[in-house]
Every structure is written in C-alpha cells, then in structure tokens.
Symmetry: C2
Subunit: 219 residues, 2 copies
C-alpha cells in the first residue's frame, strides 16, 4: 500500500479520518487545476484557486494540509505537481471500470457521455432487465441480461456501478450490484437507497438541485 497519507497522530487507536466534505472538494481542485494548466499557468496561489472556486484561500490550504505540503511559501503551488498529487490521492492515476444498469433513454445517454472516458472511467458492461435489449450495442459495449451481472462484474473487475433504472427498481438493482462486489454506486434514480456502510453511494438528481433553488427564487 502506497504511503499516500502523510498524517501522523499514531497515538489514537482510530485513524484520523479526513472529513468527507474535504474529499468531496478534492475533485473540484483537480478540475480547476486542469483549467489553469490549459491556460498555460504553472504556478497558482490559494488566493487564485479560491477566487475561481468561490471559496476562501484558507479553506483550500487547510484541505490540502490533510494530505501533505504541496506549496512553496511566497510562491504558491506548482499546477502540474499539485494536480498529479491530488489525482494520486483520489486514486485517479488508474482507469476505473464501471458497469451501467438500465439501458432505457437515460441509460443510453449516460453511457454515451464522453466525460467518463475523458477522465479514465470506462464503462465495460451494460445490463437491462428487458431481455429484448440484450445484444444491443451501446457505445463500446453490448447490453447483457441481468442474470449475467454477477459473473460479468467479477470477471471484468468492475468496482463501480452506475444505476439508470426507474426509481422503483433502484434498490433491487443496487442490492445486486453490492452482492456482486461493487463498492461505489452512482445513482441516477430519484430515490435514496439503502446500502452497507462500506459501499459509497452518490446520487445525481437534477430535479433535487432545481427544487432547492426555487426556495430562493420565490422571493
């Protein structure tokens, strides 16, 4: 196991855990660093990062300090170096395999989204409960029936499940993915699923996002 964690504190029996909210922000830093790199910048300050991300420089520095010391006083952070370090910390230095379940309109759109491949997430299998869809080609993969999910997930080293089924099917599908060994689920269904504590679930629901904004719109 690589020594990705520079944190000390060996006295506590429990590992000093990085707050989840910090982990959620790291990809944002990676994204903005790519942008700065594309603009030809090779050094950036926490001030500049904070301006772009609408957050305080102190928060960025504090977040980074959970993982190490990546900057130079009086100068800032090397864009390429910080980006590489954060990618390594997040486990983005390798390609991750994902399986998508639900090949209706939404599933086909998600499977065709080029943003995944661009960031080294590869959809290596697709499933649908409708046997009529089996054999259909979507992107780089061929749709398989649900009964092949367990074996395929294991055979293809799939660690991530993407769920694009109707809300009423989501729990059952997530159960099957978890049973097959998946430890991370990206859930597009408008439903809050149950999952074991060692399985990470993130929801993508544009309707929830809209519904929280209307609160501020209605004067």
């Amino acid at each position: 196991m690589p020594a990705a964690d520079t944190h000390m504190n060996a006295a506590s029996p429990l590992t000093p855990e990085v707050p989840e909210v910090v982990v959620l922000r790291l990809p944002l830093y990676v994204r903005v660093l790519s942008q700065f790199a594309q603009q030809g910048m090779d050094v950036v300050s926490s001030e500049q990062l904070g301006e772009q991300l609408q957050m305080t420089p102190a928060q960025i520095r504090k977040d980074l300090s959970y993982f190490g010391r990546f900057g130079k006083q009086g100068r800032g952070y090397n864009v390429k170096h910080l980006s590489d370090e954060l990618r390594r910390i997040l486990g983005l230095d390798i390609t991750w395999n994902a399986a998508i379940v639900g090949m209706g309109r939404l599933g086909r759109a998600v499977a065709s989204y080029p943003g995944f491949e661009r960031e080294q997430f590869r959809i290596v299998a697709a499933f649908d409960a409708n046997p009529d869809l089996a054999g259909m080609r979507v992107g780089d993969v061929v749709v398989q029936p649900m009964n092949e999910l367990g074996a395929t997930v294991k055979a293809k080293n799939v660690r991530i499940g993407i769920v694009t089924v109707p809300a009423v099917m989501a729990q059952q599908v997530i159960n099957e993915l978890v049973a097959a060994g998946v430890k991370a689920v990206l859930n597009y269904a408008p439903y809050s699923p149950q999952a074991p504590a060692d399985v990470k679930v993130r929801g993508i629901d544009p309707v929830l996002a809209l519904q929280s904004m209307t609160y501020y719109l209605k004067r």
Copy 2:
C-alpha cells in the same frame, strides 16, 4: 475586510435565516414523502423518515422546525400535509419555466428527460450557438439562435437556465443568462462558474461524484 460587523443580526421575527444545508435537504424529504404516499402510508414518524434517508430523526425534526410545526406529538406527520407544506415552502406549488442552452448530445438528452416535467419544471426555450441547429425541434420546443436569448427569456418568464454547453463556453453562456434576468442556473458543464451573489448555481457533474468515491475505493 475591516468591515467586520458582528452585530448584523436581522432582528426581524419573520425571517429566521434558514441554513442552506437545510434547504438542500428539503427536496429529499419531499421525494421520500411521495414514496411513502405511494405506498399508502398516511402518517410517518421522523424515525421512519430518518431510516429511509439514513439520517437521524433529530435532524429531520430540527430541519422542519425552521419552518413550522407540522407534526402531532405521539403520532408523527401526516404524509400528504407535510409534503404539501414542504412543496409550498420550496415554491414547488407552481410550474417553473426554464431555458436550456447547448443543444448537442448532452443538451438533447437533458431536454428529453421526463423527470423535469413530472416535477413541474417546464423547458420553454432552447438555444444553441450553432445556427444550423436553429429550427430543430427538441421535445416541445424549437431551437433558437443565441441572439434571441435575452428577448425570449423575458417574454416567456424564464427564471431558470440549464447549461449544457462545453466547459469553455459555460461562463459566457451563464453571463448571458444572468444578463437576461435568470436567477437560478443548473450547470452541467464541468466548470465552476462565477456568478453574482443573488444568482444560485448548482452543478451536475457525475465525474466529480465518481472522483470522490475512488478515494475510498483505492483502499
């Protein structure tokens, strides 16, 4: 920064400043209440809501207490009543008009997603910078050129913008939407935009969600 006013407490009894995290959770409550209603339940406890949403009952009760007293001691909450109240609080008792900008593959998929209409968000206009797409029919609307954005947004009472353009175009498009009077933006571009404080922006980025989960996967 010497403008540190620690006594700016708005003494107004009618505006108890609700934390944004609370507002972000309200749509979740609405969603789970619909689910319970569909199952035929007409009363729920904070315990039951908490179990479904994986949060503590106390948090749910505290959140609701920002807006009123919706439950009955010893009994719980009337599902229909609480749902109606939360929808009203969120401004979901009316239909909201939205405009979508960027009619490429992603934009067409988003515009066709039935989840918006189902929750009374109506896409009433669509725009694209490519003049060749003008006139194309997508769902219920016809794609218009960008130079018609300002007038159309005003004419059709659009309060929400949905941005499905490439990252490099996102800031410019958001600027145009804001100039046209839009006060809420749902941003699908993998980019963190700048916007005035009175404009709400929420990002939808499945890649960010995946990137924060891999941190936990790489054991």
